[in-house]
Amino acid sequence: MTETINSGDTAWMIVSTALVMLMTPGLAFFYGGLVRRKNVLSIMMQCFMLIGVISVQWVLFGYSLAFGPDHGGVIGGLSWAGLNGVGLEANPDYAATIPHQLFMVFQMMFAVITPALIIGAFAERMKFSAFLVFSILWTTIVYDPMAHWIWGVGGFLREYGALDFAGGTVVHINAGMAALAAALVIGKRRGYPEVSPPHNLPFAILGAALLWFGWFGFNAGSALSANGLSVSAFVATHMAAAAAAVAWAVLEWITRKRPTALGLISGVVAGLVAVTPAAGFVTPLGAMAIGALAGLVCYVAVVVVKRKLGYDDSLDAFGVHGVGGMVGALLTGLWATTVVNPAAADGLFHGNSKQLLLQFVALIGCAAYSFVLSFGLLKLVDKFIGLRVESEKENIGLDLTQHSESAYTVVG
């Protein structure tokens, strides 16, 4: 082991990796609680299956495509396939004080949860086989390249100057746009917009708790070290979640007479999504402003706009992750400050008007890439396998028809 390995940084990053891993099961509970009883296992199955499948993909070639030696600024190639050359010494290009494999496995958890977010858009009606094929292909041709552009050495957006601390674009805007594409391609659930309410809100709340907890690893872990910067990201993450929760609750209280549990946890997630690009660049007060604004904007996106436009993004993957991610990316261009992170840049509110434009351009480019490729990939998978289950199977429920299981065996 070389002397550059720092045991404090390594310990924190090992924990961060575990925290981010927990977010995918957390998402399983969050989404699972929101669907009907007859489909809860299908949601959890999709999430857990992705943990298995994408981890394998990552080690076999995903990590290499995303972070491997650059080809043309767009992809990492296959020289690190099978983790060839990814050892226990540090790779200073990415993280100078932790083993390279730790950086790899930390990033793996991001690659796992991103396709899982899209589940929210096609919940309760997608064939398991089509879901698997789509998710693996999507991760390979949409996630891995985008991760390379923004985070990979030689990636053409890495030096562009847009600020994205923990993956607001690569994870949230990316998954959010794919979710929108999926909602449009796969079509609405039977009977939409008259659909059943969440079957188990306590599960959804549990899921939100696990996501909040895990997000500390997602954001503070993206500092790749245990120091002032990770603390700053930790505080920003928490304050954004708290402010967003309050904002959504207040807005709901005013416009609909009562604050709801579902509204509260939706606000929390919106705030966490929005602070993801900003976490290591803003002050605690800046984070609170970002969280509160994200709570308000996502509330409108989910409660007003979706209803008006009529698309069935069942669990608001686009409304919260897509919209929240975009709000966060733009607000980072306002509140970023080199006082918090000298290696970054200032935003509009700290005297630099150029940053906002950089945020906007990167956002638009990545959102367009994600939407177009996701749409095309879904159409392709639909043509060869068929995306949607037959109407009768959708009626009986995916748990029984796709997995031969019933979540709550109450009788007998």
């Binding site: 039977r190 031969s404 299981e405 019933s406 109450v410 009788v411 007998g412």
Partner: protein, 113 residues
């Protein structure tokens, strides 16, 4: 007086309640049930345990009505619940001997509504 018991597909409930509402029939009891008729259940697998006599989730609606409202009720339920596929369900009409309003102690037809 009659007691109407209907077993329907769960996703038809909203339509049935709406159809009953149009006939001014708004009092009912609704329960989650498991059952099977000609529509066969789906096999369930739990590691080494395989269940083949699958029961499917259905909804039971119970309504107490006066004799001259029976067929309106049955027709409204049928209208709301029918899809034409096997599994639509069944309606049973039973004789109802007595009905009591707990709050006031009233009995008979006036206690129904």
């Amino acid at each position: 007086m009659k007691y109407v018991v209907a077993i329907i597909q769960p996703d038809r409930l909203d339509d049935v309640i709406a159809a009953l509402g149009e006939e001014e029939i708004n009092l009912m009891t609704v329960t989650d049930v498991m059952g099977r008729g000609r529509q066969k259940g789906v096999a369930e697998v739990y590691r080494s345990h395989v269940e083949r006599n699958g029961l499917l989730h259905k909804i039971k609606i119970e309504i107490a009505v006066s004799d001259n409202h029976v067929w309106q009720t049955v027709d409204a339920i049928t209208h709301g619940a029918r899809t034409g596929s096997i599994g639509d369900g069944k309606i049973f009409v039973l004789d109802l001997e007595e009905c009591v309003r707990i709050r006031t102690g009233e009995t008979g037809v006036s206690a129904l509504a």
